[in-house]
């Protein structure tokens, strides 16, 4: 996936992100991926996705608790994204968003910035035979979850706005919806620009609708 990301703006002088210190640490990813904790987490996720409405909140809390207490949260977040995007027909995307948006700063600090860097690297090396590429659903979930998490508003905005000129409809849809979840004037301004300028009529229409609803919602609350 070749994203046209505004990479520099994501890492400008205002960014509070620090590269993860665990990156260079030697570890055995295979051992982590097959650990008992991860297996139990996966089972909890599958139960949550397949559950009736009456059980959702309890199971969501259980998944969130396991994620927040995980020794390596990034492995668990990755697993959550894998399982939930594969189950999108059973509301997997919204399950992922509802869990990840409650992880406070964890999602940005432990996962999203590094994931962005890795995705940039992959998209800048198209000649490499890389079997795995994230699909739009991954970014859709991440962008919407970041918009709702507890990190500072300007940090959330900076991350989302980095995708503001993405060429694909699927990715831009995530950007527009995430901007709609933010409260800031900057988000509203960017939504206005997208609604008037984007080449894809679907994205323009969606941005207009999101903006209109924010105006309505602001008037009512």
């Amino acid at each position: 996936m070749a994203h046209a990301l505004n990479f520099e703006s994501a890492f400008d002088s205002g960014s509070t992100h620090q590269p993860s210190t665990s990156r260079g640490r030697s570890r055995n990813p295979l051992l982590t991926r097959t650990s008992h904790g991860l297996t139990t987490f996966r089972q909890s996720l599958v139960r949550l996705i397949g559950s009736a409405g009456e059980d959702k909140q309890r199971l969501r809390d259980e998944v969130l608790k396991r994620l927040m207490s995980a020794p390596e949260p990034r492995v668990f977040i990755s697993e959550l994204l894998n399982v939930c995007t594969a189950a999108s027909g059973r509301d997997g995307l919204e399950v992922a968003i509802d869990v990840l948006s409650q992880t406070g700063n964890l999602l940005l600090d432990q996962y999203a910035w590094d994931y962005l860097v890795a995705d940039m690297w992959r998209s800048n090396h198209p000649s490499l035979d890389i079997k795995y590429l994230p699909n739009d659903d991954y970014w859709y979930v991440l962008l919407r979850s970041i918009a709702r998490c507890d990190a500072a508003e300007d940090v959330r905005y900076r991350f989302i706005a980095a995708f503001g000129s993405a060429p694909s409809r699927g990715l831009m849809e995530g950007v527009v919806e995430a901007l709609g979840d933010l409260e800031s004037a900057a988000a509203r301004k960017l939504l206005g620009e997208i609604s008037g300028e984007h080449a894809d009529p679907f994205i323009c229409e969606l941005a207009r609708e999101v903006l209109d609803d924010r105006v309505l919602d602001d008037g009512e609350t």
């Binding site: 009736a52 409405g53 009456e54 959702k56 909140q57 969501r60 999108s88 027909g89 059973r90 509301d91 995307l93 919204e94 509802d98 948006s101 409650q102 659903d137 859709y140 409809r169 699927g170 849809e173 919806e177 709609g180 009529p201 679907f202 229409e205 969606l206 609708e209 609803d213 309505l216 919602d217 009512e220 609350t221």
Partner: protein
């Protein structure tokens, strides 16, 4: 946009079957190249899987649309979330040979659960269904956050189970 305007977009009256969209782009827009749009929708809206049953809700009025919306969003962390829907008419479903089976839904609104049907269909049937609806000019419709805020408030007054956290709270919608 009001719930009655949404009902009109979805052709709720006299009766339609609603399917929830995971993402707005799953249905696309009328300007998209038709064949690609149909294939994309059939795959994304129904996540084509020969072993799966697909959930639809039979809706005949704005009131039923409200209940289904609250029921579906009752599965979320917050009731006030955007909800994107697409509708299919009974004629479209029967033209494609798609059989509906009434089964109880699994939302927290008991009245919405009574409107639930299961569908088993092949990829070809679902593709044909999407094409028919698109040929008829069907658009997706969003129950937006501002609308959901009003709907949730109204159904809270009504005593809808989906608007409470209590496990043993009766659903006021059921007695209506």
């Amino acid at each position: 946009m009001s719930i009655s305007q949404l009902s009109a977009i979805l052709f709720v009256e006299p009766v339609v079957y609603l399917r929830k969209l995971n993402r707005r782009s799953d249905w696309g827009i009328s300007g998209d190249p038709r064949d690609g749009r149909v294939a994309h929708a059939a795959e994304r809206v129904f996540e084509t899987d020969p072993t799966s049953k697909y959930s639809l809700y039979r809706v005949r009025s704005s009131v039923e649309l409200q209940r289904v919306a609250v029921g579906l969003n009752g599965n979320r962390h917050s009731l006030v979330e955007n909800l994107d829907l697409i509708s299919f008419t009974p004629d479209e479903l029967s033209t494609c040979g798609i059989v509906l089976t009434e089964t109880a839904g699994e939302t927290r609104c008991l009245a919405a659960n009574r409107l639930h049907v299961d569908v088993e269909a092949s990829k070809d049937q679902l593709t044909r269904l999407c094409r028919l609806a698109m040929d008829a000019g069907r658009s997706s419709a969003r129950v937006s956050k501002s609308i959901m805020r009003g709907v949730a408030s109204e159904l809270t007054t009504f005593g809808c189970h989906a608007t409470t956290d209590a496990a043993d709270h009766p659903c006021g919608c059921e007695s209506d």
